[in-house]
Amino acid sequence: MAPRVIESDVCIIGSGISAAMVAEKLAEERTATIVVVEAGDESDRLNQRPALRRRFLDYGETPWRKDHLDGYEVAGIQSRSMQVGGLAMHWGGVTPRFSPEDFKVRSLYGVGNDWPLSYEELDPWYQEAEVRLGVAGEQGPQELDPRGRPFPLAPIPLSYNLLRLREWTAQAGISMWSQPSAKNSVPYRGRPACCRNDTCTPVCPIGAKYSPDFTWEALRKAGRVQLLPRTVVRRLVRESSGERVSRAVAVARDGGAELEFRAKTFVVACGYAWSSHLLLLSGLANRSGLVGKYLTGHRNVSGYVSLPLRLYPGMNGQHSLVSKQFMRVPRGERYLRHDLRVWESSVGKEPRLTDAQGKVLLGDELLADWRRRTATGTARVRAYYDVIPDRESALSLDGSKRTPWGDPLPQLAFRDAPESAELRAWSEEQIRALFARMAKAGGGEVISARSDSFQDHPAGGCRMGDDPATSVTDSWGRSHDHENLFVVGAPTCVSGGCANGTLTFCALSLRSAAEIGRSL
């Protein structure tokens, strides 16, 4: 059967948040025809989410019913999300920027690699991303949190609990402020203000938190994109002569003829795992041998601190305080950079079935026991610290596992560069000591502290750089090897910084979109 051919100016593969940024910007600024190809299903619509959220609250059921592909069980992957809107359908909406230092750790501290662009160059794109997502934020101290323009939305107010906890951190000498979030503090772009439903992760029932489906819905309604869900791109194919990519070969999960997408420009926007996977399957963009390499992220140390404060857990549990006070390495000290966050918590204060003597508590006794133990409060503290990625922190093709279409699945193995591996134990010890100092300053104590084994907020795999020998794309996300092939968002990151990467992925994607637009 002859393949069904779909032609466009721009073919975007993937429909997550980076793809949404590229499509929206191109649709606004250019007349180009845009086709978006998504392997997953349509996501549930906003009007279905209150009921799905109810099932989540009552039974723990997932509110995203068709968010992954069966047969795609992958070693080392951190989420199975694959649907229209991608992983950002169930993100927490937390949108800090990276710090200026993140972009030049080699120049400043002699570790890792510098990015091929500076924070200052990215600042306008951060601003644009903040406007498109609707970021509510509070300006931190200018020297720690520089920005060219104010946040588009007023900050999410600090709850009574966070106000008390900010007083506590101030006693410990730490300046903290409201975490920037893509959650409406006031109605914005037709979506309502947040009303503290407290289920940002996994689902906002009212659409106060940005998710990419809103962008897709608007673009589709306006006829500005053609989005094909349930369509798996298996290969990108080069022209027989030359280095341009000529088509993407795909299968519809519902069967039928093979599909062939022809476009002037191809944009790979499949996140940190599937972007490298597609390029490896296609044998493209890999002159450097670095496709899939330098997977990056950051690790965290989390803890709970018991404090002599009367707090009221449940006021806005997913919102936090943040500080960038520890983003710079003091002169002459070992390399450690981290952020710091504080949330309200009920850990250690939950209702219990037995008292300290093991007696079963029922009726009034149980409530009285709970009330006694909640006379004081708990804070959750977390620090994400920078991990320098190793070249062999990598995604590779797994010869032993295949997709339902016979292609090798990827396997992922994150690895610290030697300098980070050497510092790991010491770094975590320093952060635990910080928690202990904070607890002491408030007259409390650390209940527990632990470090996640995995690297959070993954990125990399197609890192950007000026040198084609040591990077996969240039700073615009254009493949060094193929002038009409772009990789956008998470995969292009050189490092994972010390904060959630999504806003940075969006800023980078918008910068790529500007270059894609110029090249059309």
């Binding site: 009552d58 039974y59 009574y160 009303c195 503290r196 079935l353 009726g363 959070d456």
Partner: protein, 193 residues
């Protein structure tokens, strides 16, 4: 054709039906089997008196709705940092209905009266006996509670109403509330915003 014994016939018939269908029927039948009067007697023994009669009734009725709405084998929310998928477990309804009957039988044996007719203290004693030997600590997940009494407690104590009752404040956890009001201390339970 020789007649099949009734039990064997039913089992063979069941073998022809899809498993999810059978599970749903079994679950519905067990939910219907949960005696509402005994359940309310249990609620008044294990829930705090501060709830009052209407709060007890609201909780018991809510628990019945929760149980009726339970579905086996449904995908759970994804864990953080893992691609592993998990699903809801078997319905606890049949097990819990049996446990409620056992509490009633134990009341008859110990006190010569139905579970709903004995005093709250006697009911609590019977629940404690039923829980004897179990290693208890925090609240279990509702559906994985080893005993109906624990399922009922977990149902109540994971509610926004329980949190408000504990803190004696109108926190309204996980309910839609104006953002601006979050800056002030929650109002005492008795007051309205």
């Amino acid at each position: 054709m020789a007649f099949l014994p009734r039990r064997r016939f039913v089992l063979q018939l069941a073998g022809l039906l899809p498993l999810p269908f059978l599970a749903r029927r079994l679950h519905a039948s067990a939910v219907a089997d949960l005696d509402p009067r005994l359940l309310r007697a249990l609620a008044s023994a294990v829930l705090p008196g501060a709830l009052g009669a209407s709060g007890m009734e609201r909780t018991a009725a809510g628990f019945e709705r929760w149980l009726a709405g339970y579905r086996e084998g449904v995908e759970l929310v994804h864990g953080y940092g893992t691609g592993e998928l998990r699903r809801t477990g078997p319905s606890p309804a049949l097990r819990w209905a049996n446990q409620l009957r056992e509490l009633d039988a134990a009341a008859q044996r110990a006190h010569g009266a139905s579970f709903e007719r004995v005093t709250v203290a006697q009911r609590q004693g019977l629940v404690r006996s039923a829980l004897e030997g179990q290693r208890l600590a925090g609240m279990p997940a509702i559906d994985r509670a080893s005993h109906l009494s624990l399922g009922l407690l977990a149902f109540f104590y994971t509610s926004a109403e329980a949190t408000d009752l504990c803190y004696e404040a109108r926190i309204g956890d996980s309910t839609c509330r104006p953002l601006a009001q979050s800056e002030r201390r929650p109002l005492p339970l008795a007051e309205r915003s």
